[in-house]
Amino acid sequence: MIQVQNIQKTYNLSKQQKKELQTQASSINAVNNVTFECQPGRVFSLLGPNGAGKTTTLRMMSTILKPTSGDIIIAGESVVNNPQKVRSKIGFLTGSTNLYDRLSPGEVVDYFGQLHRMDKNTLSQRKDQLFTQLGIHDFSKKRIGQMSTGMKQKVSIARSMIHDPEVVIFDEPTSGLDVITANSIIELIKDCKESNKTVIFSSHIMSEVDLLCDDLAIISKGDLVYNNKMENFRTEYAGTSLTEAFIEIVNNHQDQLV
């Protein structure tokens, strides 16, 4: 379970940044008093236009960034007070396949398994299981630098899931992938849901959201502007497509700000 409790992330602006943003303010709120909950066995979609604060929120959940105020409780642990315990319970996957080009998939997955302090046998079994499931065995000894984007994304998934995390955080996981590889990610999200994991993902692809999502939240300019169950959303915006509803919600919020 993820409990996001009134989190805020403020960045101080340098002179250069003030000039670029054409503002006199000394700081900017990337995320502003956001609160929501994600339940186990359900898929939570976090939507928002570019620069809305989705990635910042997901980075705070994955302990890469520390909230300026508020807290996030993940599987009972606070990201502010106990980030290391949180890290042992989460799997984090981004759309940009960030891997080590000079290592093989086996080496990368072993590295992350060891950093998660998995014992040798468990690591070996789990790696074998994931490699079979994702079809990595055929290229498990090849250097990552010589692989296609799809192959790399499969290795990224194996790396994120090696320690069998309770909570899985996906930041635009299918961005830039071909249909077949994107589908493997969608299948993975479904698997996570079936195995009662808490899943949160951000995406710009509304068809994916429609297909997978149980709960929905929309962020615009750092503010949480919508948070509801998907079934309620469908009732509320009956006859309107998800894309149209999303645009309406975001535009309304931005009009209010103006």
Partner: protein, 391 residues
């Protein structure tokens, strides 16, 4: 410790598969440096031999017959019929090597016991020409002098009232240490720095640029331990580069052509366990100092290129004290022992010469350890900042 070693093991494998690191840390110091040294010495010896044995074409103007007869015809070809203008042009166009002109009244001056004047034209860019002709003229002059002494019924001892015998009692090891000991730290300090530089760029900025740092920061390990694993890798590669430089130089010196036996014996005398260990003990904290300093600096950079532009001027800052350490007259004192890099350069000279003061040595090692701790601490402080680690 488990996390540090896990990060270290992975980073070492990753680094050793990087061509740039392999070239700068292993191939350059162990293979290319000795090969360059060997090749340069061999080529330089060969050029010098060729220049010494080459038959010189020398234009003679108003030369006395006795001088021309004194020339070895196998090594000198006398060119006649030139004047000063055409002789100068011929030297400049390399059609002759030199010109010697005996001025008006030369023979008369010699015969009357006064000084005869001789001009010599040559190009200093043509190696050995000046030296060879000067030797010929000196020998000719000595012959005239011997005749004058004989004519005056004097002995050679009469015009040489003092005969000085000089004894250099400095051990060969000390002489070599003071003369050549400066080049050793200069090379291993540079290679240690460049050895740390590429892994530093790759493991800190490279990871940030590729975005792999984000996923690494989501594992249950503290940033301190992750950084320590990286710093350890950077320091080990820098240390390996420095050690490889020393081994490469020793190998090159043993293989160099025309090295006198006594010099080889002196070199073997220097490579004793005690001296090698003393060098090693200094290089370990030096590598950690470089690793910490480089990590702290490149963590600010957003890209590999930006990091390179930060480190390039730093490499000049590192070279300067090492160069000062090569200068004669700069000695190891309590003051110079406190100046980073210069202290290691001077201490190496003293270690090679066998004249190191153990008080100075311990102080230098302690200073280097302190610097390494400070550098690593600063890099940890930088690495802990969100803005530094993320793009």
């Amino acid at each position: 410790m488990h996390t540090i070693l896990t990060v270290f093991k992975k980073e070492l494998i990753d680094t050793l598969r990087d061509r740039r690191t392999l070239i700068s840390a292993i191939i350059m110091p162990t293979i290319l440096l000795p090969l360059m040294l060997y090749g340069f010495t061999k080529m330089s010896n060969s050029i010098m031999k060729k220049e010494t044995e080459k038959k010189l074409k020398v234009a003679m103007l108003d030369a006395p017959q006795t001088f021309i007869e004194a020339l070895d015809t196998a090594r000198y070809e006398v060119i006649s019929g030139m004047d000063i203008e055409s002789g100068r042009d011929a030297i400049l166009s390399d059609s002759i090597d030199a010109m010697v002109s005996f001025l008006d009244g030369y023979i008369n001056s010699i015969n009357t016991g006064s000084t005869g004047k001789v001009n010599m034209w040559y190009k200093s860019t043509n190696l050995k020409v000046k030296d060879r002709l000067s030797t010929v003229i000196d020998d000719y002059e000595q012959n005239i002098l011997d005749n004058r002494i004989a004519d005056m019924d004097l002995t050679k001892d009469a015009i040489n009232p003092i005969e000085l015998y000089q004894y250099d009692i400095a051990p060969k090891k000390e002489q070599l240490g003071k003369l050549a000991g400066g080049i050793l730290p200069y090379l291993f300090i540079i290679f240690c720095f460049t050895g740390c530089m590429y892994p530093g760029l790759d493991l800190i900025t490279g990871e940030k640029e590729r975005g792999t740092i984000e996923t690494l920061l989501t594992v249950p390990a503290s940033r301190f331990k992750i950084l320590m694993g990286k710093v350890l890798t950077i320091a080990v590669v820098g240390l390996a580069a420095a050690v490889m430089t020393i081994l490469g130089l020793v190998a090159a010196l043993k293989l160099l052509p025309d090295i006198p036996a006594h010099l080889l014996e002196t070199i073997s005398n220097i490579i004793q366990f005690k001296y090698v260990m003393m060098l090693f003990v200094m290089i370990i904290p030096l590598s950690f100092f470089f690793a910490g300093m480089i990590s702290a600096m490149v963590v600010r950079a957003k890209s590999f290129k930006e990091a390179q532009s930060i480190l390039t001027p730093i490499s000049f800052v590192i070279i300067m004290p090492a160069l000062i350490g090569m200068m004669p007259g700069i000695e190891l004192t309590w003051t110079t022992a406190a100046i980073p890099i210069l202290n290691i350069a001077l201490a190496t000279k003293e270690i090679v010469a066998g004249t190191i003061n153990m008080g100075h040595y311990c102080f230098i090692v302690a200073t280097l350890i302190l610097l390494a701790i400070v550098a690593v601490f600063i890099s940890y402080k930088q690495f802990s900042k969100e803005g530094m680690v993320l793009k």
